[in-house]
Symmetry: D2
Subunit: 109 residues, 4 copies
């Protein structure tokens, strides 16, 4: 059994919830748990041959949920990794921004 099968919001990883670059990690874990459920629901809709347009509506909702998670993680990344690198000075900040811009380009197109 994988974590994907455990109840959402399981406390198993709370010990690590307050370190690392991610602000409010549990918020992301809960949103991603819902996203897994949405993906499972879309699989079920195709299996049951639900009406195509209704399946497309669910895919749009799932895509929006993923984009919201991506923008949130990017915000955390800029706020922590990039700002810290900028404060340390040196070429590190430039490298981190190049990397962030490439990630943004993949999300935008």
């Amino acid at each position: 059994m994988t974590l994907a099968d455990t109840p959402s919001g399981t406390p198993v990883h709370d010990h690590s919830a307050h370190h690392g670059y991610i602000t409010d990690k549990d918020k992301y874990l809960n949103r991603l748990k819902r996203i897994e459920g949405q993906a499972r629901g879309i699989h079920k809709m195709v299996e049951d041959e639900k009406y195509c347009i209704d399946i497309l509506t669910q895919i749009s909702a799932l895509t929006s949920a993923l984009e919201a998670v991506a923008v949130g993680l990017l915000d955390d990344h800029l706020r922590h990794c990039v700002v810290d690198a900028a404060r340390l000075g040196g070429p590190e900040a430039d490298a981190k921004i190049t990397e962030a811009t490439q990630a943004i380009a993949r999300l935008v197109r």
Copy 2:
């Protein structure tokens, strides 16, 4: 247990694979099974506090996979529901196209 927990490509639903509007239903079920795995993997990456940019790369890949499924389902929908309605004549085809256009608008923005 849901089909989501069974091995991908299970024959359980083959009896229905050749009716309904979806061409090659098993292809979609397999792709959506992979998409569920990708969503589970992203949850795991956040849980393990993997590098933010690597998580964003996986989210972009998942979003692209979902968009490909949506475009495929839309193609099936136009090819079957919309064309059939057009052949039957009457206002049905117009209603189906309005509905399809709204779904496309949600996917595009």
Copy 3:
């Protein structure tokens, strides 16, 4: 001088406004005229070194306006070319849908 330099809504082309596949052609010409103005405005903002975030806001607005035109044209296309081909029967409808789906895929990703 090109039509792009004439006042928006010029009646010059009204004689062609009621044939061809485009419903309410003048509506599209006016929207595309505004879109040209938006593009010109963004060029001016960069030239004047306006605040980057404000330029990005204008680019998002322009992209949304373009997507709305694209979805509208696609709707017209499905409603006319695709439905007509479906009514005529034969392989033509399939070819038109393949073409439409490819256009949708370019708009979605």
Copy 4:
């Protein structure tokens, strides 16, 4: 004559081309000039009632060109405004990142 030769694009602003936050401002001005030409071309295609799918292809190309400009400007913004604010310290960097994230969210959805 094309609109590209109108007051915008004159050397008037060359003296400012090397200060301000935009790296290689002329590169952006040239790309935006091409973008204006693409918008004008799409207007012409609708006016001439060119084939719908060909118009959609041009709209997709224009949208991609705009997104590339947006990502480039955002990179400049992070590299200069955000990094400078981070180095100065204080709440300014956080405010700039919130603003940048909101701009990214508008580009992504």
